[in-house]
Symmetry: C2
Subunit: 412 residues, 2 copies
């Protein structure tokens, strides 16, 4: 965990400058939930009229905060977000629901809104009762100190095993008016498809009706967070929330969105992809970022399942950790995906060099560029299935001793 | 690989005494395929009239020997088995098929049978052309030296990354006549469900028609080899073959098998389970054998999928390596299985101590026996889903630095 002073991932990217977003004040505080000597409670307050969209884990045993968010999301409006690190409030039974209601109620009292306009997320250890009194006790001081300019502290406040804070910013135009999208994320393990992601919170000053906002977020997450896997494990707490404060003065956006949001969609997708790749770059123990592209599958969905089978294969991931372009294991992972594949049409390239084509080694292929590529921090694998037009790109990281170190003693 | 002198698994069991089976001569030789200074080629010759059954990998990209065996298995008779270690003859295109035909032809010439009565298996590196001339050159000397008493050498001859040889023996009665079943196996990684297993070869002196033999082997493998997983990766070469030489003088067994085989089935199931558990005990880097029982699922199949989701979770396996009874990760793995589950009915026990019941921590449960249990070599996890009568037990091992060591530099 963060308290262990893990070395920063060699794949880390610097946190960009994060400008204030009109209509948002935010801050962090030390609530002492689990960590000592660091902020572990983050709050955002949104201007009246803020709309919200969300995507959540598909794990069948979600945490109490996820259930709360799912329940209040259809309201479409948000006034506050409260996030704690150190305790996930998952598998905590009735006590978990009590903690959620108490926290939402306390935040609503401070902000002056209904509890159903307060969104919640928790990350950390599963199965331990949430000491929510520590949260509610810390909220008044936290709320009193909110300012528009504390995004970078928030990016740090939501970390658990993360080794670097993750943030991204883009600007876009809606009807000629400039708007900004800022986002932060945390996550470095228990990351897999069929989930929204770890925790990620995005905000914009644009004025976008909740249905249009939800459509953009759902589609964008599918192409970004849902294409990243670290260890095939799906968290019980994964949450992505996007808040639109409506402070920007652009032409009205219809409920159904549409062409007026084209540039906003582009910018949002870029923020989501930036954050998703930062999560892969901070995969527990990661030494290499791996990009896997599958082409020639019978469909895009089939290509994605094959790509994820490769990305989740411990044998592929350990080979890459060992800088071994072991394409035999890649073939194995294609075969175990259960998708249509014909061994004698398969081709495999590493770093752009085709090592195998149509079911066999490429005679006399040049090993030198492959060896050099494997020594780098970013490894590209391309597999052509040779059956159709389906394609997909996913990202993961290598499986190293660091993963074992971090996860073999998480609670100790 | 074996040449690296990996330390023997702390979970290893001794190889039992393996008696001759009437109608079988076997032996090993150094063919120099990849390893130096150890036997890497194993042959068995079967008496005329020997019947055969087989189950194979479900990987979509199987090796050439698997395709060969599938093709000749419907003949139902076998006269020889040739197994090499060091090269899997997988993803080797036309050259792979040529190697298979040459090897079967050479063995058939020595034994005096049709090539279609020769069964083949290969294990080792994927994607390198099989130097089958080394196999066919070594076969005459190997064949000339076959004897009935070399099971233990055969168990060693088929090893790759295995750290100990694996064998099991049982006797049974068919119509009052005693018969023997002997089996050997290899495998320690790339082990997952949806496959037959690694390589395992069993033989009996019983006289059992091929259809009855196949029914017994298919059912027995489902309950044993297909309930074991090391790393969720499915080999392209997994093969289990069972040969029945018909030398025992017991009453005739009908094609459909039936009650007369009840005791034989019991003995076969025990051999299969013994061998499957030895494979889990030799899981790459394994320090602990993990038995996972799921009860109360909506069906047995659902229970097995949930159990396998737990068994394949890197976060569960690393927690156990760290001797941490982290039942929160177990809950996570239940939830990601995609099977019916209700968080608020889940119960989790470790080593027989219920830590969580019906969706929450058991207040004041005694941690001492759990801590002591986690320090042992064999860890038992029980999960009750609370929804129905479905149950399943599967086995795996922990995920340790040893797995990374072995697989991060396999080819170097």
């Amino acid at each position: 965990m963060a308290g262990k002073d893990l070395p920063v991932s060699p794949l880390a990217l610097p946190l960009p400058g994060m400008p204030p977003i009109a209509g948002i004040r935010l801050g962090v505080i030390e609530a002492g939930i689990r960590y000592k000597g660091r902020a572990d409670l983050t709050m955002m307050e949104f201007a009246p009229g803020t709309t919200v969209a969300g995507v959540f884990t598909r794990n069948q045993c979600p945490g109490a905060p996820v259930e709360w968010c799912r329940q209040v999301l259809p309201g479409g409006t948000a006034r506050a977000l409260v996030v704690n690190a150190g305790n996930a409030n998952v598998f905590t039974g009735r006590a978990g629901r009590v903690a959620v209601q108490a926290t939402a109620g306390a935040a609503a009292g401070l902000v002056g809104c209904r509890p159903e306009e307060v969104f919640l997320a928790s990350t950390g250890v599963i199965g331990e009762t949430m000491p929510h009194q520590k949260l509610t006790a810390a909220l008044p001081a936290l709320h009193a100190a909110l300012t528009p300019a504390r995004w970078q502290e928030a990016a740090r406040g939501i970390m658990t095993t993360d080794t670097f804070p993750k943030g991204a910013v883009r600007t876009a135009e809606i009807g000629g008016t400039r708007v900004t999208i800022a986002g932060i994320a945390k996550g470095s393990g228990m990351i897999a498809p069929d989930m929204a992601t770890m925790l990620s919170f995005l905000a914009t000053d644009a004025a976008i009706p909740a249905p249009a906002l939800q459509a953009l977020l759902s589609a964008g997450s599918e192409r970004s967070f849902n294409c990243v896997t670290v260890d095939s494990d799906t968290s019980t707490s994964d949450t992505v929330l996007l808040f639109a404060t409506g402070q920007a003065r652009h032409p009205a956006v219809p409920e159904s969105g549409g062409e007026i949001l084209a540039d906003f969609r582009r910018a949002l997708d870029e923020v989501l992809m930036d954050l998703a790749l930062m999560v892969a770059r901070d995969g527990e123990g990661a030494q290499k970022l791996i990009e896997i592209t599958v082409t020639g599958a019978v469909s895009d969905a089939s290509a994605k399942r094959i790509a994820m089978s490769i990305a989740n294969s411990p044998l592929v991931k350990t080979a890459i950790a060992g800088e071994d372009a072991n394409w035999g294991r890649i073939v194995m992972a294609v075969g175990k995906a259960g998708e249509p594949a014909d061994r004698d049409r398969l081709s495999v390239a590493v770093g752009g060099t085709w090592m195998a084509k149509e079911g066999g080694v490429v005679p006399g292929y040049d090993e030198a560029p492959v060896v050099a590529h494997m020594k780098g921090r970013e490894v590209e694998i391309t597999v052509d299935i040779g059956l159709g037009q389906g394609r997909s790109t996913v990202w993961t990281c290598d499986l190293t001793h660091g993963y074992i170190d971090i996860n073999g003693s998480y609670r100790s």
